[in-house]
């Protein structure tokens, strides 16, 4: 709660510290029109009143009207575009888990064999290449040259594939590296030796004893990973012209649509705080050694 309040306050005052507003045009509007606009959006109220009004509305879940698009509220913009971003994000998480995790596990189990070297070289490249480069290269090769997948827009299920690969690229590589080192560490533990000593088949040792424990550190990284996917979506949605929340956020920066910038930032902050909370709770379930509270 404190985090969200702090984000709201910082963003609010930052937005008001900017010289020029969304209604500043090259050709100045007549003073009367300007006055009406200010009246309507309460921009002529003292700053502290605007702030308390905003907080009051926020508590009721109202993020205010958009300055740029008349008659559209920030809530409508989020409600319209967030599902698209959420689909994209979930698809990326899916890729990350079903490619990154197995890659890490395989390269740990086949340490210093070719599978390990292949997976880890790919992961190193994956960590180094920025997502917008991956996205544009994919778009050029798969979309333009080969023509297999649509290059832009959000029309069919095929539109999800390329953006989510580009978005997931870095984190898939990251998860693969993390999983590998985590599995390697767990395999050296005494209880693994015990499990082997009592004659359990290797399959049971790996899947039942090693993996469960190796996954714990990866769960803690879910929060930062989600945050990264969120910011990554700004660029990816711009490249593929996907009408998601990230695209709206970037557009609102360009349009100086302060209520939208503020509203989307608050929305992101809330989302991340909730996710971090869920991760903390999840952590206690996975690792019984950790207890919530004191």
């Amino acid at each position: 709660m404190v985090t969200i309040w702090m984000v709201v306050t910082i963003t609010f005052f930052l937005m008001h510290a900017i010289p020029g507003g969304p209604f500043t045009r090259e050709k100045a509007l007549p003073p009367a029109v300007m006055k009406n606009i200010e009246e309507r959006y309460h921009l002529n109220d003292p700053l502290w009143k605007q702030y308390t009004d905003y907080i009051q509305n926020l508590v009721r879940g109202d993020l205010g009207p958009s300055f740029k698009y008349q008659g559209v509220t920030v809530n409508q913009i989020i409600a319209e575009s967030f599902p698209i971003s959420a689909q994209l994000g979930l698809a990326s998480l899916f890729i990350m888990l079903f490619v990154g995790l197995p890659a890490g596990i395989i390269s740990a189990l086949r340490q210093t064999k070719w599978q390990d070297h292949l997976a880890m070289s790919l992961a190193t490249v994956g960590v180094a290449v920025p997502n917008f480069v991956v996205a544009t290269l994919l778009m050029y090769i798969v979309g333009v040259k080969l023509g297999w997948l649509p290059t832009a827009r959000w029309l069919s299920w095929q539109s999800v594939i390329m953006p989510s690969i580009a978005l997931a690229g870095y984190y898939t590589a990251y998860v693969a590296r993390l999983t590998r080192s985590s599995v390697l560490e767990v395999l050296q533990q005494d209880y693994i030796r015990t499990a082997r000593a009592k004659g359990l088949p290797e399959r049971v040792v790996v899947y039942k004893h090693a993996l469960k424990n190796a996954l714990i550190p990866i769960v803690t990284y879910l929060g930062p990973i989600l945050a990264g996917i969120l910011t990554g979506s700004f660029v990816i949605e711009k490249i593929f012209a996907i009408p998601g929340l990230g695209e709206h956020f970037v557009a609102s920066i360009w349009n100086r649509d302060y209520t939208v910038i503020l509203g989307v930032t608050v929305f992101y902050a809330t989302l991340l705080v909730i996710v971090n909370l869920i991760v903390d709770i999840l952590y206690c379930f996975i690792d019984p050694r950790i207890r919530l509270g004191k």
Partner: protein, 313 residues
């Protein structure tokens, strides 16, 4: 048990012993010279081939960035209106862009900007982060608690979001990027330094310094921070590629440096609309970013292994 004559000891006469010549060398000369922490780290780093490759690549990029634009006959804003969107050729090594500007020089200028951003942003976060973490760690107690809660709160939101907000407020441009990155990315450094200082300040040499009447500031700057240099260097080396990447990211979104300056993010974003006709416009800046990021990653990993062998994976 039969009687075994105890013989031999008495039968060796004294003249069979000859004294060794007196030792000329002192013990200290025989033992190997003691290896310092930094010497040891440097030796470990040199053995790491990938890290050295990364380091040489970075030096090469730095040299190219400094000298390249001086040596090249073209400037980054010169337009050759008769040669728009040419592919790589003899005169223009990387080709020209859709406005007829030499791409090679523009990519080199991009390297200047990216490296400057990496350097300045990490210097800023070095000073802010080290001071903040140092003060929190040394002060301890309630001060530490409040300072670190603030860091935790910032940390729960993606830092890029703050950078974007900062850029919105102070407007696009190179200086804004330095400011925004420096003001936002010190959080990790503060955490690292504080954790180090919490353990270090309990040690005897700090007690000795205090007993000798050293001030808090002297203890912090002369005793504690020099002992944190290893983790600090590791954090900086991890932060430089992050800063470079963030600059490229911002420029790509149009929040970075202003035209006609060329950073890698700007070049990549410029190439996007023309990707069907001029794919080389994307390829070269993309390659430059990727190679630089790879080199810094290798060097960073190598430095981490060399400076803190316990962390080795």
């Amino acid at each position: 048990m039969a009687d075994i004559p105890v013989s031999g000891i008495h039968e060796i006469s004294k003249d069979k012993f000859t004294p060794l010549p007196a030792r000329k060398k002192d013990i200290a000369d025989i033992s190997r010279p003691s290896v310092t922490y930094w010497g040891d780290a440097w030796r470990r780093l040199r053995q790491n081939k990938m890290a050295m490759l990364g380091m040489y690549t970075i030096i090469f990029i730095i040299l190219l960035a400094i000298l390249g634009p001086i040596l090249s006959p073209h400037s980054y804003s010169d337009q050759f209106l008769d040669k728009q969107g040419l592919g790589p050729n003899n005169e223009h090594w990387f080709g020209t862009d859709s406005l007829g500007r030499d791409l090679f020089v523009r990519v080199l200028y991009g390297a200047r900007i990216s490296l400057a951003v990496g350097l300045v942003a990490s210097l800023l976060n070095l000073t802010v982060g080290v001071l903040y973490g140092g003060i929190a760690g040394l002060a301890g107690g309630r001060v530490d608690n409040v300072m670190m809660r603030i860091v935790d709160m910032f940390y729960s939101i993606p830092l890029v979001l703050y950078v974007i907000l900062m850029m919105v407020v102070i407007g696009p441009g190179l200086k804004s990027i330095f400011m925004a990155l420096g003001l936002v990315y010190w959080l990790e450094m503060a955490r690292v330094v504080r954790a180090q200082i919490l353990t270090l300040k309990e040690q005897e040499f700090v007690m000795a310094a205090r007993a000798l009447g050293a001030s808090q500031a002297r203890i912090l700057f002369r005793h504690l921070i020099p002992n944190c240099m290893g983790p600090i260097i590791i954090t900086v080396s991890m932060n430089i590629p992050l800063a470079i990447f963030t600059e490229a990211f911002l420029s790509f979104l149009g929040l970075g440096v202003a035209i006609p300056m060329a950073s890698w993010g700007v070049l990549a974003s410029d190439a996007l609309p023309a990707i069907r006709s001029y794919p080389h416009m994307l390829f070269f800046p993309a390659m430059a970013i990727s190679v630089t990021m790879l080199a810094f990653n290798f060097l960073g990993d190598g430095l981490r292994d060399a400076l803190d062998p316990r962390l080795r994976k």
